[in-house]
């Protein structure tokens, strides 16, 4: 695997694990006690972003140390796969935004608006990542 392909796999797994944990914890509980989690979900969201950033940086450092000659090399195939993956993810992101828009228009609690938008973003990243790994294996 090229460095970029490994990086794509790592980010896909990290996003699923870290944000998956966030959604299971926060949204799972929220259905029961939304008021209590009003402040807590913001802190958890921030913590999730920090954890993901740290893990992403750490794993990429490990990847670079493992294959120093290939580290950070990006070629035209990497760019093309990345572009197409992001393009597909964009549709998912648009749906997420529309859902958030709908929630805002109907003045649903901001907890749900914030998490719907975040879910849209996370889902779009997962779809983009999945598209990319399939293209790396099957060809583009």
């Amino acid at each position: 695997m090229s460095f970029q392909e490994k990086s794509t796999w790592v980010m896909l797994l990290l996003v699923i694990l870290v944000y998956g944990t966030y959604f299971v914890v926060v949204v799972g509980d929220a259905a029961a006690i939304p008021e209590v989690l009003d402040i807590a979900y913001r802190g958890m969201m921030l913590a999730t972003v920090v954890v993901l950033t740290v893990l992403a940086a750490g794993t990429h450092i490990v990847l670079a140390i493992a294959s120093p000659r290939e580290a950070d090399k990006t070629d035209e195939r990497d760019r093309e796969i990345n572009r197409f993956g992001e393009y597909v993810g964009g549709f998912v992101l648009a749906v997420g935004v529309l859902v958030g828009l709908g929630l805002a228009i109907f003045e649903i609690d901001h907890f749900w608006i914030a998490n719907a938008l975040l879910a849209g973003l996370v889902l779009s990243e997962v779809v983009a990542g999945l598209t990319k790994v399939v293209l790396y294996r099957r060809g583009i």
Partner: protein, 52 residues
């Protein structure tokens, strides 16, 4: 010449060279010309395209 050597000479990753050889990636015109030039041949000599 190894795949890694060829990759370095034309500015792509070794995995992209493999993908080209296996038909999983069509290189850009620029990269196709670079590959042909490395072997001192024309693009038609190095690449094939199936007939209709």
């Amino acid at each position: 010449m190894t795949q890694a050597d060829l990759a370095d000479r034309i500015g792509v990753t070794r995995q992209t060279v493999i993908a080209i050889e296996q038909g999983r990636y069509s290189p850009s015109l620029e990269v196709a010309f670079k590959i042909a030039r490395v072997f001192g041949r024309s693009v038609d000599d190095v690449f094939g395209y199936p007939p209709d």
